[in-house]
Symmetry: D2
Subunit: 379 residues, 4 copies
């Protein structure tokens, strides 16, 4: 028999739902040392959060997030609120001795992110940032192939994220259009891509960027969130990168693409076909010149044994289940990864991009962090 | 508060797991009139089925499937055993007054399938056959677009299912290679495609077919299951079809493809990219001649509101969750669809294909059923 | 200096144009032992054929095809008329001692095809049938990889050809709808696929088929050409095949697909992306499970050195240039391939398919040829 | 009868060959007011250029490009030498009263480009720059759809060009690695993408960029050409852009991608499948949410009537044939487009990118041109 671990979720929107889904299924895909219990979920509107609790399989609901943090049955606080509230809830949670999983981005500015990460480290609790796409099988395989040296030394990295969620100028103002609450697009969408870049390639040293907001007013209120940003990256290894984030791309629902080019090969991931990974291998016979479309579901692949036979396909939900299973597997001692410190490192790059766009100049990431970027060998 | 409905699962292999997964999640995606309780699961090996019960979230396990059927806590018997055992378990279940969901194919021959379907009908219990792909959003959308007349009158249908599961001649003999237990490939893989054909196009009238087994002996035992079959179909409407099923296709994990060509348009589904549906519309502006790649996740699409925002993608597992939700939503009165009678209709076509291959001649489906195919208007 | 070789083209439609294009460019892609001179082109309408001559770069035009055959400046007669006229023109040409390249299909029935092939053989002139797709780089590479044993022994072959050219019931009657002139769809489109099958897999032994014509009357005249046909093939090696040809598929302009599955691998070609070839290799590392998308333009690939650097792409026209170059390279002695005898062998399979469809039974190809199919080893 | 126009080609490499191919075929695809005669081709190595003349169908060869320029039979000088020589040859040609078609880039720096363009304008001769991809049917269709307002106002543009031509560090030094001869990668590959951007979106105002050379020495000589560059673009309309050019991408032969996102729709072109154009239309029925894969070969599409029936596909070579036909169609008066002035405008953007990369700052294009960018309405 395994011991129970109490989960409290702060925020009942799509992310709260996805995280609850993760805890519900984690014990169904893997033998875990503990049994997650969804104890409580919070939200501002009493009847809506009560319905969510019932729908998500959570035992009770509350309108006060501090109820979640202080609930003695709660061992892990799972933060799924808008970005601007993350840091405060994280700090309160770790102060209460709770482990914490925080949705990305960790904060809407770097100093808050660092404060939250430091508080968690000081409290000595397991802590994690919700970069769920690391748990997508094809992206986990991409990382594995990079680490195996399949592409050699990485020379170039590119990441593009295109959606149409802000394209219609008639969408009324809501918190997503207010940077202090919803974070910039650089921080919100960009955090995922920057995390993948740091994870696979290493630290970013210097950046340039531009940002634009085409619809600058909604419902009579000023929009201060960028709708489209693009950036140039220099990695500490000497690799170069290019990044684009845009929410004004017609008929692009949520299409992201990541590619690395190395001395030995190329890897490319396309989210619209998320069970595939493309690999161009210089070591291949010239007669077979091209890319392999790897079906990232082979039993030898990351996470594959927990799911369906090859060819069947998984979707977005799997990232939350894998994330919950990975964290619960290391309960209660951790460490968890990626942790909040990684969340803060990503935030530093995002803030450097924001600053570079605002000031129209190249910005070193250590201008944001106040610390030199860790030295790494130039490729 | 909703009333509980007790589920008993017979068979703890991959299908048992997938069905348990469906019941676990169904209440998480939709408000249901009842709460599924996974009461019991059966299998022949005590410790393995006990582990499965724990892993799948089922309360208890047993080595005797009759325990499941006779358990007073069980309202629905879910049959996930090898095909050759389906009919007997279904008959016992409905005799015990239980509702039944039976994995496909309903049986390994048409007469057993009809007997099982008739028993269920006579018992007056809700009953369903597990054609889960009908609940894949893109295929449900395909059906919807056909029904809306988007392709006009269907002229041609084609379905192809390619896997490599039997390619290696060194795979040892197991029940899948014994037709009386595992069913023919025509009935096993073909049942899905034939169901989709009947669902979208209508009854099949006459068929021709061929079958081949390249590795005729495994572990010293004769293999009597076809490894590759192909067939020609004539629908009652006058439409024509072509079908292929093969388990000897290298590096094809489980790739199936369905296409209809009608007087107004073409629809094509490709399982390797299961969140997409391709639509060629004759009504389109000629300047845009081509196919639309529909992202079958729009909130206006079947099942989409129960899942993630558009662009995120779902996988195979969703079919079992949608299936469970669709059935539980109509608990306790039903009717459920597709029902076992549909399972028998599909079996009739499969058996006609088997007979056509064996006898090297065109076979009318009513030779199998003993009843004339229902008349339908010629397109 | 190379000697001139005089070309006479019979027929100035799209095929006549494509062949002229081939001769124009052949000396530009390869050093040839002779220089093709486009001497004369024939057609029934004087001013139209005159304009075509000017446009295609042919020296003179005539309304009588016998003028072409008898022109002393003509060394090669290139037959680009409707199918029903091919055999007669071929026979007249070889009787006049001319070499001949005949568009496919060689005839509209097998006996005429054999007569034409035999006449050419008896005359001892170089002769070829226009299966131009053999000269598409990706298909030539497919053949090469099959011959190298990359897929092992072929178990399954499938070919599908889908167009929309006959879908609109308001297209007025023309010669394409009259079998005696335009040939059946089985013979017209099917000839290409059957040739590829015979070329890569070997002789076909037995077939079943069905055919349908949905619009049976146009401009008040009966249509006797099949609009959609499908067939099952048994190869002499024991391999099995499936074939489909249809001209009623909305928004399918001319999409053909060929796949072979062998004991070691799978190869797939898709004409809509004609510079690619897909290869699934069982010998591959499991971690890379999937298909390679080969860019069939590497300098090591067939025809690639004659064209552009890799990645640039070629189109349909290249098949006619490569064909012309391959034939002229062997001028004046030949032998040319595929020759008219191969055209007749293909026609035998097509006629067996037609008969199988008409008589609703399996038909042996030797019923058509009157000779046993050459023995080949069973795989 | 049409009058002859004499063509002289300077440079017999791949580009010289492609241009000769274009003139050879132009009269075969379109009725032209003149007949191109390939009079002379020049190159430094006598026997090689003599062989090229024979192979390309040019009447004579010379080792002195001034022979071409001064040949009285030559009406059009076609400049296909390495970039660093373009401007001088153009100036000599127009001084001799010849029309000129110059391969891109027009020069290796902006001031030479302007001088060449001005010289041509002053001479009053027809002049053109070889942005051949404008003549690729799918890209011409993309422009047409943008001009028709199908995407509304353009908000974002992105272009990426990936090849592996410089990846191998063991490739010996040649002129491509010397900026003064081969031009920067920004100018060489980038010129095509920048031209497409200016053509479809309008003037570029300001840029940022980075460049890297991973292999800085070859054959003991310093390489001063960038192997990989990326840039950010601000258009005068307010649209934003992102650009990447890289020659170190394993198994990427020559893959370029262009996308525009506008207020009404998205258009995307992918060179690896060059007969297709992707269009996401916000005006579409939501039930069909997605992209259309347009087959850019419909007879209503640009250039399509000159080529093959839809579905057959064209390749790279078609761009040179269409280019030759477009220019010859306007012989002898012109004007031709894109002209050398457009070549200079593109060069200005490329030079701004080079400067931005070198100086690590945002650079206004008018810093390069010395003239304000033409005002355009902000979208």
């Amino acid at each position: 028999m395994t011991r129970d671990v109490g989960i409290g979720i702060v925020g009942y929107g799509m992310m709260g739902r996805a995280h609850a889904y993760g805890y519900t299924l984690a014990p169904r895909i893997r033998a875990l040392p503990c049994t997650p219990r969804l104890r409580v979920i919070s939200g501002r509107t009493a009847d809506a959060v009560a319905r969510a609790a019932s729908s998500y399989g959570v035992e009770r609901s509350t309108t006060d997030w501090r109820d979640v943090v202080n609930d003695p049955q709660v061992d892990i606080v799972d933060v799924c609120t808008p970005p601007g509230t993350h840091a405060e809830i994280v700090e309160a949670s770790v102060a209460a001795g709770k482990a914490v999983l925080c949705e990305k981005p960790l904060a809407v500015d770097h100093s808050s992110a660092v404060a939250a990460a430091n508080a968690a480290a000081a409290a000595g609790v397991p802590n994690a940032i919700g970069f769920n796409y690391r748990r997508l099988p094809a992206l986990a395989l991409m990382k594995q192939l990079v680490d195996e040296g399949r592409v050699g030394d990485v020379l170039l990295w590119r990441g593009v994220w295109l959606s149409d969620e802000f394209l219609d100028p008639d969408i009324p103002f809501d918190w997503r259009f207010e940077r202090a609450v919803g974070a910039s697009t650089i921080a919100d969408l960009g955090a995922h891509l920057v995390d993948l870049a740091l994870w696979m390639v290493g630290e970013v040293d210097t950046v340039a960027a531009q940002s634009e907001t085409f619809t600058r007013e909604r419902s009579g209120r000023a929009v201060d969130v960028d709708e489209a940003s693009s950036g140039l990256l220099r990695f500490a290894t000497g690799a170069r990168g290019a990044l684009e984030l845009a929410r004004v791309c017609a008929r692009r629902p949520c299409d992201f693409f990541v590619e690395v080019n190395g001395t030995r090969g190329t890897l490319r991931f396309e989210y619209p076909n998320l069970n595939e990974l493309w690999f161009g291998d210089r070591g291949d016979d010239d007669e077979l010149y091209g890319f392999r479309r790897i079906r990232a579901e082979h039993e030898s692949h990351p996470y594959a044994r927990d799911w369906w036979p090859i060819g069947q396909g998984v979707g977005y939900g799997v990232t939350f289940v894998n994330q919950a299973a990975d964290l619960l597997e290391r309960w209660p001692n951790g460490p968890w990864e990626p942790d909040l410190a990684q969340g803060a490192r990503v935030q530093a790059v995002c803030e450097a991009l924001e600053r570079a766009a605002a000031e129209e100049r190249w910005v070193r990431v250590d201008e944001v962090t106040g610390e030199p970027t860790p030295a790494t060998t130039t490729s």
